[in-house]
Amino acid sequence: MKIQLKLYGPSKILSDKEIIHIEVPDNSNIDELRKVLSKIISKDNSKSNLKNLPKTAAFFSETNEIIYDNYKLKDKELISIIPPIGGG
């Protein structure tokens, strides 16, 4: 199945697009999405500065609630990746 990932902050290094589509195994949860992201990043040397992102990022649902590692993803679901924050 595919999920839609909306990019914020440093995760925008992954793509020029605001939303990317990521193939994950059926019935994946956030923990599995982290593994898929790790593989994507490790395949591309230009993205090496994102190597910690899969483990340090949080994820938000479409309703802007934080979703945790055991959250089951649905096909075509839109979620946001929230890299470590630092405003102010």
Binding site: Y8, G9, P10, K12, I13, K55, T56, A57, A58, F60, N64, I66, Y68, D69, S80, I82, P83, P84, I85, G86, G87, G88
Partner: protein, 152 residues
């Protein structure tokens, strides 16, 4: 309304100190505390030209409202609070964040201001990318919202 929070797109508007002062003014209050965050021209020995701020706007506004309500509950329920954060490209010297608080007494006004800025740094989904004088740009590291026990 005694609370104003906003994300201000830098290409549309600049954050205004005058607007903030006007908003927090009340004859009931004897103290005003204002925190202004500006883009600095140096970080980690690199000369900085500007910072681009990114934000998850809906979640940021939700966090701003929660933080300000918490601050009022903790220190002064009658405080008036103005909070704006910039989004987009902000050159050196321009305002990135403005927190203005009107309160009955100075102690509460100072404490609310301090509480809000520290909580924003730990709760609000905002990121900054520095642009350097010598060329190049870099997203700054931040504070993870993922529970620490899960980060291996």
């Amino acid at each position: 309304m005694d609370l104003h929070t906003a994300i201000v797109k830098s290409e549309e508007k600049k954050i205004s100190l005058e607007e903030a002062k006007k908003f927090i003014f009340s004859e009931n209050n004897g103290a005003e505390s204002i925190f202004v965050g500006r883009v600095r021209n140096e970080n980690s020995e690199k000369k900085v030209n500007a910072v681009t701020y990114d934000s998850h706007d809906q979640a940021t506004i939700k966090s701003f409202q929660l933080i300000c309500k918490d601050a009022k509950n903790k220190f002064d329920n009658n405080a008036r609070i103005f909070l704006e954060h910039a989004k987009g490209y902000v050159p050196v010297g321009d305002i990135s964040i403005l927190i203005a608080v009107g309160s009955k007494h100075r102690d509460e006004a100072f404490k609310i201001c301090r509480y809000i800025i520290e909580e924003i740094k730990h709760q609000s989904p905002i990121w900054k990318k520095e642009h350097y004088s010598q060329g190049g740009e870099e997203w700054l590291e931040g504070h993870s919202l993922r529970p620490k026990k899960n980060i291996k």
